[in-house]
Amino acid sequence: MRGEMATGNARTDVMSLDEFKAWFVAEIEWSPSEISEDNDLVEDLGMDSVGAVDLMAAIEDAVGGDVIMPIELLLRITTVRDAYLQYCALAHLPYESEVAR
């Protein structure tokens, strides 16, 4: 089930890029009805700071597990494809408390 964070095993519930785009259009209030993975979130889709808050919160919810989108990943996001890649990264990274010490 999406949002269930697996520990130790690869997740199988992560959206494909096409699913992510459909999710983006449905979940992000400021999204136009059609988007491309190459769209720049700011320049093409008009994302401002408030829109960024909406998007990060939505991605965190989609990943589940009350995970935080770290600043390092957030700064790698420019396009829709970037957002998807960082969503995937977030879904597969271990929690700090679960990192072997």
Binding site: D48, S49, V50, V67, I71, E96
Partner: protein, 208 residues
């Protein structure tokens, strides 16, 4: 006063200075030089207090504290890196309001981190003082970074002075916005509440 303003399920007896991705921490001497550099960044200077002028380091320091109610350096969780500064100033205790300003490093613009830092400051201010509102003065070019916030209920545009500031070959409006206590409590029910709630951190591998 209605309800807790801590951003958490249970009321706390002390205000948190930690947001989801950020910490607001006390300003120290070590922060002065990074903030001085930030104040002169071309993408920041015309929108911050010095409006493009280049004060000496001593003058910068002199102007860093007068009128301040509280101010915090914005850093990532677990790091002392200076990402920005949030300030509450010119408090009016009779009429129960204060002003606030946020400055963030340009590479963080339009990422929502300025809002996250401001909401952390607002939580602290509303927790510690019975203010009715926080007033922010901004320039049109900066306002474009968060203008959708009025529609989303984050703040209210109260006034606009047309063509007040010259920047980049044109004049920009000066804009006054208020963020009221009831707006804070209302937006805490949405994504903003998530901004101020703790979550689980992931381990990010270094970039290749």
């Amino acid at each position: 006063m209605s309800g807790p303003i801590t951003g958490e399920d249970q009321p706390r007896l002390s205000p948190s200075l930690q947001t989801r991705r950020l910490q607001l921490r006390m300003l120290t001497n070590e922060d002065h030089a990074p903030l001085y550099r930030l104040s002169s960044d071309p993408d920041v200077t015309f929108q911050w207090r010095f409006r493009g002028t280049t004060p000496s380091y001593d003058e910068f320091l002199k102007q860093l504290y007068p009128g301040v109610l509280c101010q915090f350096v914005v850093s990532p969780l677990g790091s002392q890196e200076v990402l920005g500064l949030v300030v509450a100033y010119n408090a009016d205790f009779r009429h129960r309001f204060c002003h606030a300003a946020v400055v963030m490093h340009p590479r963080l613009h339009r990422r929502g981190l300025g809002i996250e830092a401001f909401m952390g400051l607002a939580r602290y201010v509303y927790y510690g003082w019975d203010f009715r509102m926080i007033i922010m003065e901004t320039v049109g070019i900066a306002f474009e970074n968060f203008s959708r916030g009025e529609e989303a209920g984050y703040f209210t545009v109260e006034g606009r002075i047309r063509d007040q500031f010259y920047y980049g070959g044109r004049y920009w409006d000066g804009i006054s916005v208020t963020h009221r206590r009831d707006q804070f409590e209302k937006v805490m029910q949405g994504p903003v509440g998530q901004l101020l709630s703790p979550g689980r951190r992931v381990k990010v591998p270094p970039s290749k």
